[in-house]
Each structure stands twice: as structure tokens, then as C-alpha cells.
Symmetry: C2
Subunit: 282 residues, 2 copies
């Protein structure tokens, strides 16, 4: 088994970020908006805040209860857009159902869009132009594959799941890396023939054990983006890890694979936005 250890790779990225950050007089500023009641989101936000502080950033979390209005979020975003101490604005998704997520994301100044979800950043990425920030999970996956020297150019990559935050931008990034990408999803027929023929499989569906041993050819690289909390409390991915780990060329564990890379990419985005903004002001 060749494990792609996201935790280790992320650790060295974070160390590098901390060092770069300490070389600046000003501190990169991250604002996080939490407007939902989801337990997982609360845990993610606390973790982002903690890591952000440990790197020497200045983070502020805005927590809202269910009575928050669209107008209040909009005012806050306008305020944060104008605040020169804030370099990155992160809206933790999902939002309360009564809020208009699309409108809120589009109001974030694209220069401060640390998640890379603003349509103009997605569009720039898709056109091969430089977005202000690249979506964290796709960016983290590419970094992890490169850390293990997995070849992308000319390889057949199957991405499963067509979400706006993982599958679609990941397909875009892989195409820019000269991979031949197939984007599969819930309406795809005969997934097994696609997995059998892929050099690299990246699954981001949230369906536990969607990818079973009979679907994998010896040596295939398998990246598991899925993360589902079981009733027993444990976390599982999309991939039947135990049965596949000795067939795959490389494989990511869950947890400890893509998750830490996403966080590291987020922190890197905060620092990069800070650097871009301070360069522009010179």
C-alpha cells in the first residue's frame, strides 16, 4: 500500500505559511461568517479559527442565530469588503435556508474571495486566467498528487461528483494540467467501466463505499474526497479503503487525506490574498 498522507503534506505547507507570515509586519486577516445551525460547520469553523490563529493570522468569526436577515449579512459583507485589515472573507456553507446563498457569495469582493467560489474566480479559472483564489479542495488535491509525484499530463482522470465546490473546478484544474478528464455523476451509466479504465479516480460524492475493489484496476491512483459521519460516530469516505488499499497504486485515507489539504489550501489562500492586496497598495 502506498498511502498519500495528506496530514503530513499539509503540515509542511502550514509550516511554510507560518514562516512566510512571520516575515510580515502586518497580519493577514480572515473573516468567517457562520450562519447555520449545523454541528459539522461549527466544528469546521472552530478548527479554521484555531489553525488561522496558530499561523499568526488575525481571524474574526461572525456567528449568527436563526433570526439573522439577508440584509444583516449583506451589510456585514459590505463592511468587510471595505475593511483594509480583512484580506479574506469566508462564508461557511450551507447557510440557513431562508438566506440567499448565491447573492451573498456574489457580493464578496472577488479579491477577498478566499474560497474561490465567486463566479468571476470560477470563470477566470475556467478560462485559464489567474483567479484571485482557487477553490481549496481542488487546489489541495492537485498539491497532494504533486507531492507524491503522480503524473497528470496525458493521464485519464475520472472525477466522480459534479459539485460547484469540488467536482467541476477540479475537472477544470486537471484539464489545465493536461490530464484527460471525465466528469461522472449520479446520472452516469456503467460507472464501473469508467473506473476500470482510469489512471486516476477522484471520488467526491459522499456515498460510503461507492467505489469497491471490483471497480479498480491494479495500480490505479485513488483519491477519496467523500466524508460521511456514520451513526456509530466514525468517518468514512466514498472508497472501500480496506479492500482497495493493496490494489491501488496510491490511495488517500479518510480522515487524514484530502481534508487536511483543504485546510492548508485555505490558509495558503488567506496568505496569498494578503500578499496580493499589500502588493497592490504599494
Amino acid at each position: 500500500m502506498k498511502l498519500m498522507n495528506g496530514k503530513n503534506v499539509a503540515k509542511s505547507i502550514l509550516e511554510n505559511i507560518k514562516e512566510r507570515t512571520s516575515s510580515y509586519e502586518k497580519k493577514p486577516g480572515l473573516a468567517v461568517i457562520l450562519a447555520n445551525n449545523d454541528e459539522a460547520s461549527k466544528i469546521y469553523v472552530n478548527s479554521k479559527e484555531k489553525i488561522s490563529d496558530s499561523l499568526g493570522f488575525k481571524s474574526s468569526v461572525y456567528r449568527f442565530n436563526k433570526s439573522v436577515t439577508q440584509g444583516e449579512i449583506i451589510s456585514l459583507i459590505h463592511e468587510l469588503n471595505e475593511d483594509s485589515e480583512i484580506n479574506g472573507i469566508l462564508v461557511q456553507l450551507p447557510l440557513y435556508n431562508h438566506l440567499n446563498q448565491e447573492q451573498i457569495i456574489e457580493l464578496i469582493d472577488p479579491k477577498k474571495d478566499v474560497d474561490g467560489f465567486h463566479p468571476i474566480n470560477i470563470g477566470k479559472l475556467n478560462c485559464g486566467l489567474k483567479p484571485y483564489a482557487v477553490c481549496c479542495t481542488p487546489k489541495g488535491i492537485i498539491k497532494l498528487l504533486k507531492a507524491y509525484k503522480v503524473k497528470l499530463k496525458g493521464q485519464s482522470v475520472l472525477v466522480i461528483g459534479r459539485s460547484n465546490i469540488v467536482g467541476k473546478p477540479l475537472a477544470t484544474l486537471l484539464t489545465l494540467e493536461d490530464a484527460t478528464v471525465t466528469l461522472a455523476h449520479s446520472k452516469t451509466k456503467d460507472l464501473k467501466s469508467l473506473t476500470k479504465n482510469a489512471d486516476i479516480i477522484i471520488s467526491a460524492t459522499g456515498h460510503p463505499k461507492l467505489i469497491t475493489a471490483d471497480m479498480i484496476t491494479k495500480g490505479t491512483v485513488v483519491v477519496d474526497v467523500g466524508i460521511t459521519r456514520q451513526l456509530t460516530g466514525g468517518l468514512v469516505g466514498d472508497v472501500d479503503f480496506e479492500k482497495i488499499k493493496d490494489i491501488a497504486g496510491y490511495i488517500t485515507p479518510v480522515p487524514g487525506g484530502v481534508g487536511p489539504m483543504t485546510i492548508a489550501s485555505l490558509m495558503e489562500n488567506v496568505l496569498e490574498l494578503f500578499e496580493q492586496q499589500n502588493k497592490r497598495q504599494e
Copy 2:
């Protein structure tokens, strides 16, 4: 042979546009900027102007010789963005080499971006949001396939060529239609095994006869976006039409396939932008 006759389908779309246009008091306004010395571009622009006028639009073409500066084009775009008589702005590509194409495209008001090339329109399309306009060639291809009732949902579609104006947005549109899309390009290995396994092949490379009879499985739908002028003066596509026409399920000719659909989609975009802008002013 089952031919997908783009000329006929485009004709009925244009008739519909003409009728809708005649129901309005105001005329949709299209501005075209031609800043290159390319013979093909001149022909395209003349043809767009002629068709536009025949539909009852008001078109103005701005022709520049090589001495034009970036600043002059920028001023013109600012002027056209403000002009309430102009609903769509088209910059004929490529531009003279000394001009910065990216900057010019991004300055077009996305609400008037009739080609759908502005990063924010590309981004909205990629996120499954409604762009102001959808790129003309991909939009035309989807319309042509639908006119011939070619099923897209769950089908394997191979798109060859990853340009910003055809391949990439086409892959996006097909994914939104629930197709399973593979995006191939110059770095793709073993193109033949991909073409053999596809339900639908859409080639947009500009390499004459890239797609030969031995690459096609009986019944495959073949769409040819390529268009290359031969030394003898004739136009050829990416597909070896004569040898494939009786193997393919459906096939588009070159010329008379995708080309007229692109023009029809452009004209539809002009009218749709006009309708959007006049609705907003109410």
C-alpha cells in the same frame, strides 16, 4: 445517413427571432468591433452585420486598422457600455497582436457580453447559474442535437478540443444536461479508444480528418465543429465525412452544420440581451 442540417434548423430559429423582434417598438442594437486583418474575420463580420440587419436589429461595425491603440478600444467599449441603444457588444477575435484581448473582454459590461466570453458569464455557466448570455457555438450545438432529439442524459459524450470558446463551455453545458463528458485535447493518449466508446463525439480542433472511419462505432452521433480552409479554397471539418457518414447515427456536414447554428445563437443572444435590458428598465 442521417444528416443534422444546421442550416435548416438555424433558418427556423432566425425566422422566430425576426418575428419576436418585429413585435417590439425599439430595435435590438448590436455593436461589432473588428480589429484585425484576418480575411476570415472580415467575412464573418460582414455576414453577422447582414443577418443582423435582415432580422430588424440595428448593427454598427467599428473597423480599425493596425494603428489602433489599446486605449482607443477601451474608450469605445466604455462608450458602448453606457449607450442604451446598444444591447450587445461583440469583439471579433483574434485581435491585432499588440492588443490585450483579456483586458478588452473583461471591460465589456457582462450584461452586454453577447458572446458569453466574459469570465463572469463563463463562471455563472460553470456554477449552474444563469449567465447573461451563453457562448454561441456550444449553445448552437446543444440546440442542434435537441432539434434532432438526440438524447444527452446519461450518454457518454467525448468533446475533443479544450478552447475557452468551444470545448470548455460545451463540456459545462453537456454536464448540465446530465451527459457524462470526457474532455480530450492535444495531450490525450489513445484518442481512438475514447471515440470508440463514446455515444456522441464532438470535435473542435481544426485538424482536417482527425476523426477517421476506424475510430467510429456504428450508430455514434458525430458533430464536427472544425472548419479549415484548404489551399484549393474548399472548407473541411475535423471529420472524414464521406467515409463516416454511413457509420454514424447522426452527423453534421461542414459547411452547413454547426456554423449556421453559431450565427443563429448569436442573433438569439442579441435579442435576449435586448429583452433582459428592457425588462430591467421597466
